[in-house]
Symmetry: C2
Subunit: 156 residues, 2 copies
């Protein structure tokens, strides 16, 4: 049973959807913090698309997590395979109200609530070329630092 | 004339000193923002020392800025040459109350107030080895992202 009905006219404007997506993100963030991964949410990629969460390992490995808060949210996205070009491993993350078998086996899968996440399926590795990795790392670093500065200046 | 006397017993505990250092940092941050550099303040280096401000260019170039808020602050630091091992260019930054000729010619020099900074002298380039650059970029990226997450979680 999905918590947000895939049959409603437009589930993407359901107010609960963004709450659910944020809840999933928080759970993944807590899981990844435990794994000593650093993260930047909502990172614009070279393609112009925006990755929900990009994670960086101590070895420079880059993971992308695409958050799907409902069945419809997954079904309406036909472009997710493109994310592979920007990461070493690709995951979907969702919550317990979305059937796990909806998601493709060739991606990792994380089931999250607001407290933590559980990695139901690890993601296969498809290693980035060195130049792409460097560009992604730069993009990640600059976005994180620029947002941090904005937050610092806003705090006075 | 220095604003903070170099002859006081311990200028490092003068409350105005850290205000002055923060003012200089703000000016440098504004200058570097205009130059499209991303920045992380107070970044711990592999050596265990902490760089006052690390800046990252769009091409991956890494600059370190060492902030000196008084004559004594500069004179008591004998280890600044070590920063070269962690960056492509090394700068000092200070304010108008500290004589510019105090600082070594082989480093860049920025004179800042809280509104902006003026690059009085550009810094010569001493390019990092690829492995060191990658390690510094990772360190920068992870510190920025981890602080951003802490700020996000603190904001609720």
């Amino acid at each position: 049973m999905t918590i947000i009905s895939p049959h409603s006219a437009n589930p993407l404007v359901d107010g609960r959807q963004s709450d659910r997506a944020m809840m999933v993100r928080r759970g993944v963030q807590r899981l990844f913090s435990d794994l000593r991964l650093s993260m930047v949410p909502e990172l614009a990629l070279a393609s112009g698309r925006r990755a929900d969460l990009v994670a960086l390992g101590g070895n420079g490995e880059i993971w992308i997590v695409e958050i799907k808060s409902s069945v419809e949210d997954f079904r309406s996205d036909h472009k997710w395979p493109e994310y592979r070009q920007h990461c070493d491993r690709l995951f979907f993350a969702t919550h317990g109200g979305v059937p796990a078998d909806l998601f493709p086996n060739e991606c990792g899968l994380i089931i999250a609530d607001e407290w933590s996440g559980h990695m139901l399926r690890e993601a296969p590795e498809h290693r980035l070329a060195a130049a792409t990795r460097k560009a992604m790392l730069l993009r990640f670093a600059k976005a994180a630092a620029d947002r941090l500065l904005l937050a610092e200046l806003a705090a006075g």
